[in-house]
C-alpha cells in the first residue's frame, strides 16, 4: 500500500541509501538486543533526565522528553542542499533586520507592507539606527523544517531570537555514541560536537570594536527557575564561559561588568536567553528584575554586543514569515532553495473566507503563539472544536494564519510494538557571525503517537539523534 506520507527509510520494499547501513546493522542483531539497549538508553536518559528535572524546576510539572534511539538519517547530498537553503534563509533574515532598522529599502520598494513591521510587537523602535557588529542581529537561527518528499522540504517557521533545543542535539548524540559505538565505527557519521566551539567563535567574532584582545563572553539566563535553565548552563559550560544572571552584571561608564571574586570584569558579548522586554528596565519594561539597568545604553553606544540583538524577533514573526521568500529575492538576488509552506493570512478578507470554508483541512495557528499551543489541526478535530475555533478567528482575524496540513515524512521509531514509522520534523541551528556555519545535524522531533502530526514536546513529542552520513 502506498501511503501519502514520505517514508524516509523505505521506498516501497527497498531500503533507501541513507538507512542502508543502519538496516543491515539492525538485521544483524536479535530483537532482544534492542530491548536491552532500550532499557540502557532509558537508564542513561533517566539519569540525565533527572538532571534536567533538577536543573529545571521540580516544583512545576517538568516532564522528560521521550528519547527514541532510532536515529534519523540524511545522506550528505541531501544535507548539502538543506544546508544551502538554511544558510540562505539565515543571511536573508539578517539582511532584513539590518534593513528595517536602517534604510528600510524593502518597505520603500513595496515588497513588504510597513505596517506589518512597524506595528509588530517584536519591532523595537529603541534600536532604530543601532548597528550591531558585522550587521548581524540573529546569531543563532533555528529553522523548523518538514520533509514531504524525496526532494521536498518546507520551512514551517524561523526562530531568530534564542531558539532552544540545541542541548538535546548534543546530548542525544552523546547517548547514541555510548549505546552503539560499533554503529558509529561502521557508519561514518559527521560529528556535531564542535557546535559549542563554533558558537563561541561566532560570539567572539561579533565583539564590539571597543573590545581589545580576547572578548569576554557570558550567557545571561533568567535563573534556575526557567524551564530552559539546563540548556543555558549546559551551553555556558560547553563554551567555557560564565553563566550570569541580571544582578551579576552592572553598568559603569561606557561598559558592562560582571561581579567576580577578583573584582569587576568587563563583558564584551552577552548571549542572552531572556526576552527583549526584560533586558533593561531603563529601556523596556520598568518592572523587570531579570535584566541589567543601563545595558541597552551600553549596547547602543557600542560597548557590548547582545546576541541575539534586541529587536531581532520581528524577523521570525509568523506574519512576516510569509514574506521570507521575498526577502531572499530582494536582498540576495537568489531564488529560495527551501519552500515556505503556503500560508493564508486571515487578515486578508479573501483568504479569511477561504480559511473559514476549509477549516477541516487546514492547520490554523496564532500569529504570536508558539510551542503548538492554541493551534487547530483541522483533520484531527471534532466539529465542535472547529466551530469554536472559527469563532475565535472571526473575532480577531489578524491574529491567525492557516496552512495546509502537510504530509510530514516518517522515520522508523521504536514503539511498544517494535519499529514503526512516526512523523518527524527537523530544527537545524545556523550560526551567523564572521561566517555562516551549519552543524551537520540538528534536533529531530518525533510524534510518538501513531498518525499524530504534532511533534511539539509540550504535546507529547519525542526527540531523535539526527545523522548526516559522510560520503
Amino acid at each position: 500500500m502506498k501511503s501519502r506520507f514520505f517514508n524516509e527509510m523505505y521506498d516501497g520494499d527497498t531500503v533507501r541509501p541513507a538507512y542502508a547501513n543502519l538496516t543491515q546493522w539492525i538485521d544483524g542483531h536479535p530483537p532482544e538486543h534492542f530491548e536491552l539497549k532500550r532499557k540502557e538508553a532509558e537508564t542513561i536518559f533517566r539519569r540525565i533526565g533527572i538532571t534536567f528535572a533538577v536543573y529545571g524546576s521540580e516544583e512545576t510539572s517538568e516532564r522528560l522528553i521521550p528519547f527514541d534511539m532510532m536515529p534519523r538519517v540524511f545522506t550528505e547530498t541531501e544535507w548539502r542542499k538543506l544546508e544551502r537553503g538554511v544558510k540562505q534563509r539565515a543571511r536573508a533574515l539578517n539582511a532584513f533586520l539590518w534593513d528595517i532598522y536602517h534604510r528600510r529599502e524593502i518597505v520603500r520598494a513595496g515588497r513588504i507592507p510597513g505596517d506589518l513591521i512597524w506595528r509588530n510587537e517584536a519591532f523595537e523602535p529603541a534600536v532604530v539606527g543601532t548597528s550591531p557588529a558585522r550587521g548581524v542581529y540573529s546569531h543563532v537561527v533555528g529553522v523548523d523544517l518538514v520533509r514531504t518528499g524525496l526532494d521536498e522540504f518546507f520551512v514551517l517557521e524561523d526562530n531568530c531570537r534564542t531558539p532552544s533545543g540545541v542541548s538535546y542535539m548534543l546530548e542525544n548524540r552523546e547517548i547514541m555514541m555510548r549505546l552503539f559505538p560499533d554503529l558509529f565505527r561502521s557508519s561514518r557519521i559527521l560529528p556535531v560536537d564542535d557546535y559549542p566551539q563554533a558558537l563561541r567563535r561566532t560570539f567572539a567574532s561579533v565583539a564590539p570594536e571597543k573590545c581589545a584582545g580576547e572578548p569576554t563572553i557570558a550567557v545571561l539566563t533568567p535563573g534556575s527557575f526557567n524551564s530552559a535553565y539546563y540548556e543555558h548552563s549546559f551551553l555556558a559550560d560547553q563554551m567555557g564561559v560564565e553563566l550570569v544572571e541580571g544582578p551579576d552584571l552592572f553598568v559603569d561608564g561606557d561598559f558592562v561588568y560582571m561581579r567576580t571574586t577578583r573584582g569587576p570584569q568587563r563583558v564584551d558579548v552577552i548571549y542572552r536567553r531572556i526576552d527583549d522586554p526584560f533586558i533593561d528596565p531603563l529601556c523596556f519594561r520598568p518592572d523587570s528584575l531579570l535584566g541589567v539597568p543601563g545595558l541597552m545604553n551600553v549596547y547602543r553606544s557600542g560597548g557590548v554586543q547582545i546576541c541575539s540583538a534586541p529587536g531581532a524577533g520581528v524577523a521570525d514573526d509568523k506574519a512576516i514569515y510569509t514574506y521570507v521568500p521575498e526577502m531572499i529575492r530582494f536582498y540576495l538576488g537568489e531564488e529560495p532553495i527551501l519552500n515556505n509552506v503556503p500560508t493564508w493570512r486571515c487578515s486578508e478578507p479573501d483568504e479569511l473566507k477561504y480559511v473559514l470554508e476549509h477549516l477541516g483541512e487546514l492547520v490554523v495557528k496564532e500569529v504570536h503563539g508558539s510551542g503548538g499551543y492554541g493551534m487547530l489541526v483541522g483533520p484531527a478535530s471534532t466539529k465542535e472544536e472547529i466551530d469554536a475555533y472559527a469563532a475565535r478567528i472571526r473575532h480577531d482575524p489578524g491574529d491567525f494564519i492557516a496552512q495546509p496540513t502537510l504530509a510530514l515524512s516518517t522515520s522508523p521509531t521504536f514503539v511498544d510494538q517494535g519499529l514503526a514509522p512516526r512523523h518527524v520534523d527537523l530544527r537545524p541551528y545556523c550560526l551567523v557571525g564572521e561566517t555562516v556555519h551549519l552543524t551537520p545535524g540538528g534536533l529531530t522531533r518525533v510524534a510518538m503517537r501513531e498518525g499524530s502530526l504534532v511533534v511539539n514536546s509540550s504535546q507529547g513529542g519525542g526527540v531523535k539523534d539526527t545523522w548526516v552520513l559522510a560520503e
Binding site: V54, T260, T261
Partner: protein, 316 residues
C-alpha cells in the same frame, strides 16, 4: 569566579552548619532537662537554648512558655523562623540550586536528600519522633553534605568559599553555645553544685561531639578552665574558636594566592587569629569570659562582612 557563585556556595555551607548547630543546641537542652536539681525539680535549659539561638524574644511572642514541645516546634519545624532546621535546609538547598553546576552531583544529592527527607520527617506524627532522633538525623545529613564536599569537590575557589562558610558559621555557633553556659565554666561556680555542674560540662562537650576528644586531649578530669581552653584555644578541637578562625584564614590565604590579591578579609582573619594565638585562658576567664565571647562574635561577624565586601557579594 562570579561573586554570586562564591556567595551562594558560602551561604550553602553556612546554612548547613547552622542546621547542625541548632540540632546540637537542642540536644544540649534535652540532656540538661534530664538531670534533677538540688531542690527536687528539673533544670530547664530551654530558655538558655533560645538565648543561644538568638531567638528568645521572637519565641516568647509566638509561643509563650519555653517547654520542650514548643521549642522543638520553633527551632525545628517553624517555617516562620529563619533559623529553624527546616528553613536552614531549605535555604542551603536554594543557594546550592542557584549554583548547581558549581557543585558535584554527590554534594547536590546530599543536600537534596536532606531537604526531601525532612518533608517526610514533618509528616511523621510527633508522638513517634523523639528529639534525639531529630538531632541525630540533622547531624547525619549535615555530615553527609560536608563529607560529599570533601570527597568530591575540586579544590578550587568555590571549595574555599564553601569551607569558609562552614568556618565562620561554626565559630559563631561555638561562641554562642559557650556564652549560654559561660557561668558554669567560671571558677566560682565550682562551689555551687559539684555533680550537677559536672554534668553540665559534659553536656556542653557532648553537644559539640567533643566529649571523648576532651578526654584524649586533657586526660580524665573536668576542669572549667580546661574545657574553656579546649573550646576556645585548642587548635586540634574542630569546633574551637581558634580552629575555625584558623580555617577561615587558611582558605583566605589560598584564595589570595589564586587571585593574586590580598583583601581586607585576609587582614581581619589574620589579626583575629593572632589575637587568639597569643591569648591565655587564665586571662580570658579573669577578664570576663562573657565579654570575651561577645567580642569574638562581633569580630567574627565583622570578618564575615569583610569577606562579603572583598568578594563583591550582594553588590550591584
Amino acid at each position: 569566579m562570579l561573586s554570586r557563585t562564591a556567595e551562594n556556595l558560602y551561604w550553602t555551607a553556612r546554612y548547613v552548619e547552622r542546621a547542625d548547630c541548632t540540632a546540637r543546641l537542642l540536644e544540649m537542652g534535652y540532656r540538661m532537662q534530664l538531670i534533677p536539681t538540688a531542690d527536687g525539680g528539673f533544670a530547664s535549659e530551654w530558655e538558655s537554648v533560645l538565648t543561644a539561638a538568638g531567638a528568645r524574644g521572637d519565641f516568647a511572642e509566638r509561643y509563650g512558655d519555653a517547654v520542650e514541645r514548643n521549642v522543638v516546634s520553633f527551632l525545628v519545624f517553624d517555617a516562620a523562623n529563619p533559623s529553624s532546621i527546616k528553613c536552614c535546609l531549605a535555604s542551603a538547598r536554594n543557594n546550592a540550586r542557584a549554583v548547581r553546576t558549581a557543585l558535584t552531583t554527590e554534594v547536590w544529592e546530599a543536600l537534596n536528600r536532606a531537604y526531601l527527607e525532612f518533608q517526610e520527617l514533618e509528616r511523621t506524627p510527633r508522638s513517634e519522633l523523639s528529639l534525639p532522633q531529630i538531632c541525630d538525623w540533622t547531624k547525619r545529613h549535615a555530615a553527609e553534605v560536608r563529607g560529599a564536599h570533601e570527597n568530591t569537590q575540586l579544590e578550587n575557589e568555590g571549595y574555599r568559599f564553601f569551607n569558609m562558610g562552614h568556618a565562620v558559621e561554626r565559630g559563631d555557633n561555638t561562641a554562642r553555645l559557650l556564652d549560654v553556659k559561660y557561668y558554669v565554666l567560671l571558677p566560682t561556680s565550682d562551689m555551687v553544685g559539684g555533680g550537677i555542674d559536672n554534668y553540665q560540662w559534659t553536656t556542653l562537650l557532648r553537644a559539640l561531639s567533643a566529649h571523648r576528644a576532651y578526654h584524649w586531649a586533657y586526660g580524665g578530669d573536668y576542669a572549667p578552665s580546661r574545657i574553656a581552653h579546649f573550646l576556645i584555644l585548642n587548635r586540634a578541637c574542630p569546633r574551637s574558636l581558634v580552629h575555625c578562625v584558623n580555617a577561615a584564614e587558611d582558605h583566605l590565604t589560598e584564595l589570595s594566592r589564586v587571585t593574586g590579591q590580598r583583601t581586607e578579609a585576609n587582614d581581619a582573619a589574620a589579626a583575629l587569629l593572632a589575637e587568639l594565638a597569643d591569648a591565655e585562658i587564665g586571662d580570658i576567664v579573669h577578664d570576663g569570659l562573657h565579654e570575651f565571647l561577645g567580642r569574638f562574635v562581633a569580630r567574627n561577624a565583622d570578618l564575615g562582612q569583610k569577606i562579603a565586601d572583598s568578594y563583591l557579594f550582594g553588590k550591584v
